[in-house]
Amino acid sequence: MNTAHRYALSVTGLVGFLVFWEAISQSGWISTTLLPPPSSIAPSLVSEIQEGIWHWMVWASFRHYAIGFFIGSFLGVTLGVLVALFPKVEASQAWLARVLRPIPPLAWIPFAIIWFGISETAAAFIISIGIFWINYFTAMAAVQAVDKDLIEVARAFGHRTFPALLKKVILPGAAPGILSGLRAGLGQGWMTVVAAELFGIEGIGQRMMEASGLLATDVVILYMFSIALLYGISDYIFVSIQNKILAWQR
């Protein structure tokens, strides 16, 4: 399958899905309130933009997302790398991580509100939690999987200090794993954005709650697609940067 062929099939799949959905909505079997047709999205978008709501909400959500992403990723990668490098740290965190890891980010909402109030910080905190764990475990595994033979090569050629080995072997060797963790976090973050805003922090999630209360389901769908678009753009940008960094891979 060549690239063009693949591209054509991907477009067909998406367009086919939308056409099928439009047909069901238009057929009258289901009320358009229960399932608004995709063709209603454009008018909703125009009215949301005219009222100045769309870009305001998107920008607010993007802020929470970006802050949560950077904090969660930074802490996750840093701690994951450290844990992998020092066996004693690794042993001391093993059970602790097992206790904390399964707690879903949304379960932290009560504490987020108590600690930070109904604030952007609270939303960013919740978003950062899921991203933290993904990066923590992938960074740890990536460092542990670095080829020991290459560390020996670096030592044989005179690079024997810890900073030198970190810079010349460990971090470049772990880079593919770390980057794939960052990318997974990029998606995970958008999934938590909406939920993190449901309790009243301004953003896409809050607007969706409002709209569903008014049964304005076309507006709900509009924001669902907005998130998909934002994710698509951020993932596209990330992958192009990733491909530059990992040009050495086949």
Binding site: D147, D149, L150, E152, G158, H159, P172, R250
Partner: protein, 256 residues
């Protein structure tokens, strides 16, 4: 001739107490300046470990390794070529060759010049900007040799460098290594499990017995290198070393 490598009652062991695994005990070997010494032995005899102790990658348990070559801040005294080339996949070929030049007193221009000239020496002058994955196994191994030569070492330690290559590439690289050795006058300690290769390359072949390893025998190869691919003298020498190896294996079986 001056000895550039000399081990004195060298012992290496891993672990402590009952679980201690003695790799070799009271080993005394030496390599003279400009000499090409090959080291053969039963597998698991600690040949690779010996190279790593000489390269100061593993500490000795007892005894010592003396390296007697001039100190020079613009060079490294010892360089190693590994069994699989072990290039860093995220470095272009030129940067892989320059690995050992980072951290010694070489200007960026000298560094580029040395990378270029060593890549020329192994016949890969045009490959500086390629990634390792774009090279064949034999080419990668040449880069491994260039990386070692770039630091202009007095001593070249080679750990079964051609073991993973196909026969044709191996023969080509053996001859290339001999040419480079003649041109650069390095002292070489070359580990192999291939007896013909050991006899073909070496001025002297050391036969290492099983664990704890010790030198079982030493063979001086006084056949002109041009006469070595085949011919009666060469084959007789190979047979002699082979017989020695079989004896060494019988000995170690008896001991166990």
């Amino acid at each position: 001739m001056a000895k550039v490598i000399e081990t004195e009652d060298l012992s290496v062991a891993f672990g402590e107490g009952d679980g201690q695994n003695i790799i070799f005990r009271h080993l005394n070997i030496s390599v003279e300046a400009g000499e090409f010494v090959t080291l053969v032995g039963v597998s698991g005899a600690g040949k690779s470990t010996l190279l790593r102790v000489i390269a100061d990658l593993i500490p000795p348990y007892e005894g010592s390794v003396k390296i007697d070559t001039p100190q020079d801040r613009a060079r490294r005294r010892i360089a190693m070529v590994f069994q699989s080339a072990n290039l860093m996949p995220w470095r272009k070929i030129g940067d892989n060759v320059g690995l050992g030049l980072e951290g010694i007193e070489v200007s960026p221009e000298q560094c580029r010049e040395r990378v270029r000239s060593t890549l020329d020496l192994v016949g890969l002058g045009d490959f500086s900007d390629r990634w390792p994955y774009q090279l064949s196994g034999g080419q990668r191994q040449r880069v491994g040799i260039a990386r070692a030569l770039a630091v202009d070492p007095d001593i070249l330690l080679m750990d079964e460098p051609f073991g993973a290559l196909d026969a044709i590439t191996r023969i080509a690289l053996q001859d290339e290594l001999l040419r480079i050795w003649r041109e650069t006058k390095k002292s070489v300690l070359f580990v192999t499990h291939d007896i013909e290769e050991a006899v073909y390359l070496g001025d002297r072949v050391l036969l290492l017995g099983d664990r704890p390893a010790h030198i079982v025998n030493e063979y001086k190869i006084d056949i002109a290198r041009s006469q070595r691919r085949e011919g009666e003298n060469f084959m007789r020498k190979v047979e002699e070393v082979k017989a020695g190896l079989v004896d060494a294996m019988a000995l170690s079986d008896g001991a166990a």
